[in-house]
Symmetry: C2
Subunit: 494 residues, 2 copies
């Protein structure tokens, strides 16, 4: 590749002759790794013009660099970075500025250090990746997604792709969600009651910002999605964790001074409990009684394959009390970063204004591609295919769990894509997870899902959306063997 002339700058305060400055600039570029072996330099004429120096100055500098073997020349075709030029040190070397800022003071608000664990980026290199929320390449309908993306890249959709929508969304996507996605959950809504978000994460974040302040109280499930706890901690509201049972969040345990209740009725995260209909009605009644709002995170309803999903809590809501969070990340793919909020218009108006300030709008091209994928029926087909693939894996999981005497702590009556597990007392799931890596097994230790001081140490989550079904049983065998090894000798399990 030719090095564009625009990347050449003389330091305004540099020492020495122009010629030596040019030499230094080029040598520095090579030594720092910016200019790589074989790359072509601008012609002497071009560089001279760009820098506002005489051409002879550049020619002399180039000749010097030739002699030093930084550059090579190929007859009339110009100058290149020599193959023999010194190699740069590793690219990530610190630049030679001295940071003089006291960042401890300069940073006004800290956001790092939350409870959300760093997940391994290289999960797919593990033999037994029981990770949650990633996608299995073999399940995804890549060909049709590609066709839809192509269609959305066409001239006809040029505006939808390139325009600044300001605070608006793709009307095609909104209409499809209103007409087809929400009705599956029993929800009717008007266009002003929906906002497209950068995934469910972004929907939860926007909701917390709009509804919560330092003087308000949020109730959330315990255990729960760790990123939600980080969001609420950052919003500085009071947070009450409410321990869930086998039916999810118990309405009676929600404190009366709660302003906003966060819940996952379809598949409680992470225990997978599905809230029965009677409890949904009681939860709504409780919210009415204490005048709280409910945020329903329906992040995983599409992977309900064992029984038809129950209607969403939002569909039972006649007062505008429920704010509904939907996501395409589980059913399409997480890298898509597309979800949505459904709620009363005054709420959506504020969430929209905040979204506009934070990021304006999710990219138009992605919204339009998704709209095609949904409306051409590929999404329905994908959800069906994923349902049967997950069903198969779940069967294998149940087989292996029974065979190796592992213990399920939660049950997903409607499917889902993970099991919530309990190791024997005394086993630290974090240590277990770290030891399992040596066996090529990835699991998610459960500690970070719990709030408060007294976190149970022996829970963990096994996702089965990304692991090949033929590896499930062997992976569970490794898991059981590791637990066995960690057990104190003389314990009941030899």
């Amino acid at each position: 590749m030719a090095l564009p002339v625009e990347t050449f700058f003389l330091q305004p305060d540099a020492q020495g002759t122009l010629q030596s400055q040019i030499q230094q600039m080029i040598a520095r570029g090579i030594l720092s790794g910016r200019f790589q072996h074989g790359e072509k330099l601008p012609s002497t004429r071009k560089l001279a013009q760009h820098l506002g120096v005489s051409r002879i100055t550049v020619t002399i500098a180039y000749t010097e660099l030739l002699a030093n073997d930084y550059l090579s020349s190929k007859g009339r075709s110009g100058y290149y970075v020599s193959e023999n030029a010194p190699s740069p040190p590793a690219f990530s070397q610190a630049p030679d500025t001295q940071d003089a800022i006291d960042w401890t003071r300069a940073i006004g608000q800290r956001f790092s250090g939350g409870v959300t664990p760093r997940k391994p980026q290289d999960w797919s290199d593990y033999r037994y990746p029981f990770v949650y929320g990633q996608v299995d390449q073999s399940m995804f309908d890549h060909a049709n997604w590609r066709l839809c993306a192509l269609q959305a890249l066409g001239q006809r959709d040029f505006t939808s792709m390139t325009s600044d929508y300001y605070d608006q969304d793709d009307p095609q996507l909104i209409e499809f969600i209103l007409r087809h996605t929400l009705p599956r959950r029993g929800i009717t809504a008007a266009p002003e009651q929906i906002l497209i978000t950068m995934g469910a994460q972004n929907a939860l974040w926007l909701t917390a910002q709009v509804l919560l302040t330092q003087r308000r109280r949020a109730a959330l499930e315990d255990p729960c999605y760790h990123a939600l706890r980080d969001i609420l901690v950052q919003s500085r509201c009071h947070v009450t964790p409410v321990r869930v049972d086998q039916d999810g969040l118990p309405p009676e345990a929600i404190p009366p001074d709660t302003d906003v209740i966060f819940t996952t009725p379809s598949h409680q995260c992470p225990t997978n409990a599905t809230m029965p209909m009677s409890r949904r009605h009681r939860l709504l009644a409780r919210a009415r009684e204490i005048d709280a709002l409910i945020v329903e995170d329906d992040y995983e309803f599409e992977t309900s394959f064992l029984r038809p999903p129950s209607p969403a809590l939002k569909s039972l809501d006649t007062e505008g009390r429920v704010i509904y969070v939907g996501s395409f990340s589980k059913s399409l793919f997480p890298g898509l970063r597309l979800g949505y909020l459904v709620g009363s218009e005054p709420f959506i108006r504020e969430a929209r204004a905040l979204r506009a300030s934070v990021l304006r709008h999710p990219p138009g091209h992605i919204q339009r591609t998704t709209s095609y994928f949904l409306s051409l029926g590929h999404y329905d087909a994908l959800v069906r295919r994923m349902g049967s693939a997950l069903h198969e894996r779940r069967t294998k999981m149940e087989e292996g769990i029974a065979k190796f005497g592992l213990t399920i702590a939660g049950q997903g009556a409607h499917g889902g894509s993970s099991f919530w597990m309990r190791a024997p007392e005394g086993i630290d799931a974090k240590l277990l997870a770290s030891r399992l890596r040596n066996r090529g097994v990835l699991i998610e230790p459960g500690q970070s899902f719990f709030g408060g001081e007294d976190k149970p140490q022996n829970f963990f989550r096994l996702g089965y959306s990304s692991i090949h079904p033929n590896r499930i049983v062997n992976g569970l065998q490794e898991l059981a063997a590791e637990i066995e090894e960690m057990m104190p000798s003389g314990s009941i399990r030899r």
Copy 2:
């Protein structure tokens, strides 16, 4: 299209026989516009199975609906929504829930009502759209963008598209920006010093959140980018507007208790002033003196076509004092929503943690597509082509401005894509803009760019990135005619 069986729900608390409930459910779907003329219903067998009722119940319900002409049947091929079925009212009718929430109380923080004006979504329908920041279809390299997107949609890049990156970015894009984009601005940085954002808007927002609190002070240019003012107001810090002159922000006027200085040295927004080198050095010295950080918004450097751009302020910074905001929105297209932050590692770490909480990461597919577009050289070619197209338009603008006696208030020495204009005293630019719409002319009134109480009323911005060059002169003629009409009679300009 066939209506998926999953969209059919019986209301758990509905009255009447099962058969009449099914009839009502379908009629309601048709009346509400969810089911449209000609759409196919699920077979009686499928629907019965889904609802858990007997097939004969569904058959009777369908037969009733046939008789009422809600449905039609086409022999053995099944049931369809009849072409004669009642038409739904306009789709956006309010759902029949009664909102019982006191949203004035329920909303904890308000974000609507900022100064950022709502821009017309239908700008491209106007004959003379002097709008800023939208893209001209004829300039964009649509074919190559499409090829790059296709490549990024390929199997090889599947992971980069579909994965949850958690808090990370596409390493290919990061590397390209470090090796090629930043060096053009004289900046060297390490990978840990850069964060991809959802456009410059998102970069500025993240920066404000990390650096500012209620106890800190930001200095910003006056006039300035209105969305920045909204961001700072939302962050609740103290804000000092500093009036700019023909060279941009005057360093001496920055109050000594300032913590963060926001500036646009390349093209002051909206006056287009380019800060001379000597003032850049003085600005850095002033920041050091009062121990303030500088946020350099380099939103438009790529459209510098009159002279080579000066190196960024960041390139002169040896202390980590400058945080640099870059954007691909102006040079690629605004709907892309892609920009980046460059700064010291402790700062980037916090911005990254906050971004992860707010939205995780910009979609992987978009990062990878951009990375291909950049690395295959299409971006450089596009910038060159845009430069000459903007140059041509600028010449036409200058012609027309001179010919019709309009007044430029600011000058963009290095190009840009707009003029900052001054109407005669006494002309209200908002009124002018609103009257011009009837002539098919869109301009941006300047009021919202100013802070404080005493906003000048007669400034406006003329963008020329989206208007066809052949329409420029006529558009300016309309503008001049409207100003003429608005002048009080007997004024100096007849």
